[in-house]
């Protein structure tokens, strides 16, 4: 293509990048230095490093870690089984379909399932534990989040397992490794990139989703995302909200750097 037409393609796209990628980041940075009265101040950052926000950040990370861990523990075996099925692409599609249903509807379903008279409590009653308050606890928050994130974790792991050359597994077995050893020393290390991609896909949203905490956990759990929403839409303290947003962005960059997977393949399918 000639120079002229190339420039024409660039115009709307670069305009989009400037307005919706670069400008918002700069504005968030700018607002993070703004006090409630609109003056330039570092007080937001001072606040952030005070005990309240520090604890909030720690607990948010802790919950995100738990959610990622449980999601991984459930998803890896699922992906492993899936790759061994005969019509694996169809089964995979069936696993993915629930993730296309509006997240809010699924979260809403748990209002009923975990409710006082819901099936979960009925089950606890049957096995003799008796009904307990499940909604508005941190347990329900982790439980529902894991449910929501499972498909996002399965997909990259499935792709990694699917690409794994079965000859490696056969060789390992031929050389006398037990199936556990084969898994630990061959299968898992060779699919670690899928695991990293999955963890990244789960951890960042787990830090930032606020509707699950609001609907399921009441005010028992406050994540970084909940705090940002609170500051922007409830207390109208955009400065403080932006400061937390800046730290969430920094956390995101660190996580992406750690998981070393900057290519968010199309395989991720859908964002959370």
């Amino acid at each position: 293509m000639g120079n002229k037409s190339r420039n024409l393609f660039l115009i709307p796209y670069v305009f989009w990048i400037a307005l919706f990628v670069v400008a918002p980041i700069i504005l968030v940075l700018f607002y993070s230095f703004r006090g409630l009265d609109g003056s330039f101040t570092l007080s937001n950052y001072q606040h952030f490093f005070s005990s309240t926000y520090f604890q909030l950040t720690l607990s948010s990370f802790w919950y995100a870690f738990l959610i990622t861990l449980f999601t991984l523990l459930i998803s890896y075996p699922t992906a492993l089984v899936l790759t061994k099925m005969r019509h694996k692409q169809l089964w995979l599609l069936l696993i993915i379909v629930p993730s296309w249903i509006n997240i809010l509807l699924k979260v809403y379903a748990f209002l009923g399932i975990l409710g006082t008279y819901g099936p979960f409590n009925a089950f606890l009653d049957v096995i003799g534990i008796g009904a307990v308050q499940l909604l508005f606890t941190d347990f329900s928050f982790v439980f529902v989040s894991v449910y929501i994130f499972i498909p996002f974790m399965i997909l990259p792991i499935f792709n990694a397992l699917d690409k794994l050359n079965p000859a490696f597994v056969d060789a390992s077995r031929d050389l006398g490794a037990s199936s556990f050893e084969t898994f630990r020393k061959v299968i898992f290390p060779l699919t670690i990139n899928g695991v990293k991609a999955g963890c990244q896909l789960v951890f960042i949203p787990a830090l930032s989703l606020f509707m699950i905490t609001r609907l399921i956990a009441g005010n028992q759990v406050i994540t970084l995302g909940t705090a940002i929403e609170q500051h922007f839409l409830v207390t109208q303290d955009w400065g403080m909200g932006s400061t937390i947003a800046v730290f969430l962005i920094i956390a995101m960059i660190i996580i992406m750097f750690l998981s070393g997977n900057r290519k968010w393949g199309l395989t991720s399918g859908k964002k959370a």
């Binding site: 293509m1 307005l19 919706f20 918002p24 249903i101 809010l104 930032s208 606020f210």
Partner: protein, 267 residues
């Protein structure tokens, strides 16, 4: 041995039950005349009637669909331009920079996108409502369209363009008769992704929607915050059906796209 071999299948079945249970749970109780999500009393269509008689809700559904279609069309156009811009930029470094900037909105958490767009719209003085929601949806759909179209552009042999030019095609001819038809499957895939992104989005819309305007996700959220509402259950059945048909459509199109890709590679 026979017993042992069943475990994977059992595990997978449990996963399927768990993944689908909440959705079918919602749909099941949408027919409960008792009006609760426990203790099924009797079968009723009342809540579906309520949904169809609730004009406010229908307007919101209409809004959601209009926003989704408009944002998908516009973001597809910008996204196709973007993919071509990235493809035909000569310097590798510029290309990488453009790609990284493209992916920023895909990896950013929704809260960050929502909050920063809220600041942006207030800063440049766009009133919160239909316009701000539409612009936000276009903005976060563009990068996914680019990512869907770009591979099709990359797999296209440059000799096709050379041949067309040798045969006397103008630049416009090359674009409309060679490039666009070739990347059409990618464009459709991008359009569908943009559509589902828009229909599904809650967090970004929640930030930039203001007071008067609402989309379905935001409405479901505010209803759910007040507790159980059977209208949401009835809606969820309807949404499930629509989603299924969208997934089927997307699956069909991506199958077709793969088929086309195969044809492109075949000598």
């Amino acid at each position: 041995m026979g017993k042992k071999r069943n475990w994977p299948a059992i595990y997978l079945s449990i996963m399927f039950v768990i993944l689908y249970a909440p959705i079918f749970y919602l749909m099941f109780y949408s027919f409960n005349s008792g009006g609760t999500m426990y203790g099924f009393e009797g079968f009723t269509f009342d809540y579906y009637l309520e949904v169809f008689q609730n004009t406010r809700l229908l307007i919101i559904v209409l809004n959601t669909v209009i926003i989704a279609l408009l944002s998908a069309v516009i973001s597809t156009i910008i996204g196709v331009f973007g993919a071509m811009a990235i493809m035909y930029v000569k310097k590798q470094q510029t290309k990488n920079t453009l790609l990284s900037l493209n992916n920023v909105l895909i990896v950013s958490p929704d809260v960050i996108i929502g909050a920063s767009f809220l600041i942006l719209f207030t800063f440049i003085g766009i009133k919160l409502g239909f316009a701000s929601v539409l612009i936000a949806h276009i903005a976060f759909s563009v990068p996914i369209v680019v990512l869907m179209v770009l591979p099709k552009l990359q797999e296209m042999s440059p000799t096709l363009i050379d041949a067309a030019r040798d045969l006397g095609a103008s630049r416009m001819d090359i674009l409309t008769k060679i490039i666009l038809p070739y990347i059409t499957p990618g464009i459709y895939a991008g359009f569908f992704m943009a559509l589902t992104y828009s229909l599904d989005d809650f967090a970004v819309t929640f930030f930039v929607t203001g007071n008067g305007f609402s989309t379905l996700s935001v409405e479901i959220y505010s209803l759910a915050r007040q507790g159980i509402s059977m209208e949401i259950n009835a809606l969820s059945t309807l949404i499930f059906l629509v989603t299924l048909s969208l997934v089927a459509g997307y699956y069909f199109i991506s199958k077709k796209a793969v088929g086309m890709a195969g044809m492109g590679v075949r000598k």
